[in-house]
């Protein structure tokens, strides 16, 4: 094998991203746990992780940029580095979503408990599973596993839509529960975004491993041509 140093740099980049992935996954799990047990000390951990994630995001982008500039990667190596840059951004957003959830948990401290018609734990479980599987597909370079994640996003989207409908109704009919309903709606939205980021990560893994661009595969055929739009 030639270009040994370059291959080592790619391995180091992957390891850096895995550290980032570990932090982002832990962060979303902690935010969900904080919601479940209403524990503000866990929220503090989420905030600390978010700062570490932001710092790592910059370091990983810089390392990827250096490899693009210095090594002129080709084919699978080029696809890998592009995927790392995009997955890096998605993981940072997962960290942001975890922070959003923990901020909502803090604000719930001041509110009375309410029994709302939305299954946040179930939705959280599904979103966290998507994150875990998407990262597993990245670690193993497993495009089949990555493809299995794409369909899971529909279920989380449906749950978010149902939550929106149910919680809007609560706000209309039981105005004294509006603050709790609004909080739950924001958490539902954050979880839906986490699932979207997991989907993006899975799509990037497929691109890296197989070279297939599977983004927007349902709508791309009927989309108008942007080059002829006025």
């Amino acid at each position: 094998m030639t270009r040994i140093r370059f291959q080592q740099s790619l391995e180091e980049l992957k390891e850096q991203l895995l550290v980032m992935a570990g932090l982002a996954e832990q962060s979303i799990q902690r935010a969900i746990e904080a919601y479940r047990v209403r524990d503000l000390s866990i929220c503090n951990l989420v905030s600390i992780s978010e700062m570490a994630i932001n710092r790592l995001e910059r370091e990983i982008d810089q390392a990827a940029l250096d490899l693009l500039a210095m090594e002129q990667p080709m084919a699978v190596d080029l696809r890998f580095i592009l995927s790392v840059i995009k997955i890096n951004a998605d993981l940072e957003r997962v960290g942001d979503a975890a922070k959003t959830i923990s901020d909502r948990v803090r604000s719930m401290e001041q509110m009375a408990q309410a029994d709302l018609p939305v299954d946040i734990p179930r939705m959280a479980e599904l979103a966290a599973e998507m994150v875990r599987k998407s990262l597993q597909s990245f670690i193993e370079g497993d495009a089949d596993l990555a493809r299995s994640i794409l369909t899971m996003d529909d279920a989380v989207d449906a749950m978010n839509r149902a939550a929106y409908k149910a919680l809007t109704k609560v706000m209309e009919e039981q105005s004294h529960l509006a603050p709790q309903a609004l909080n739950a709606l924001m958490i539902s939205r954050a979880l839906e975004r986490v699932a979207d980021h997991a989907t993006n990560i899975a799509e990037d893994v497929i691109f890296w491993v197989q070279g297939d661009d599977v983004r927007h595969h349902k709508s791309i055929k009927t989309a108008p041509d942007p080059h002829v739009m006025g």
Partner: protein, 252 residues
Amino acid sequence: MGVSIEVTNLNAWYGTNHTLQEINLNIPANHATALIGPSGCGKSTFVRCLNRMHETNPIARVTGTVLIGGLDIYADAKPVEIRRRVGMVFQRPNPFPTMSIYDNVAAGLKLNGYSNHHVLDDIVEKSLKNSALWEEVKDELKKKSGASLSGGQQQRLCIARALAVDPEVLLMDEPASALDPVSTSKIEDLIFQLKSQYTIVIVTHNMQQAARVAEKTGFFLNGRMVEFDSTHKIFTNPSDKRTEDYITGRFG
């Protein structure tokens, strides 16, 4: 205008060394096609078969068919005529050292019987303009020798010399590998401009160069053509594992 090149079952030997094996390839007209591969893979031998230069070596032999613009160059044409229609630029610029810039460009024309000075003047000017050298040498055409130019200018002079005899195909065997980055950029810009008028085949070890200038790329290995596809496909998602291993530097 450029013409297409159709290669069928091409084999080449140096003595008993079977250097090209069963090459089948269609090179489109008016495009730049890059040939890449490790040293000794047969890519330079291949381009030398496209203008019958390979057979200038007494121990060399070729079988198969090469059609250039529909003309079977091994059955229906003389080597001299083929080399007029298929120009070649080499790795190291090779101007005639004692000739002036003007005479370097006009040399091929004079060999082909041109003697009218007005005609020669026009063709020399046009060729030097097409090779992006005119502005740099127009005031010293007959004063300066070809050898007095810089390496990058000498290579563009050789391109002008090749263009002067009005070829349809331009073969370039690592045309920028001996040049500095600025001269390399000029040659690459030139290839980009020339491909609207000529069919260009470029052998290069510089894969970024292939990616920059060529629409099609072929990967050669051990005398065989492993993969031929759009340059975009070859450099982002090649079909063959050997191509991927080579362009990512895993061997070669």
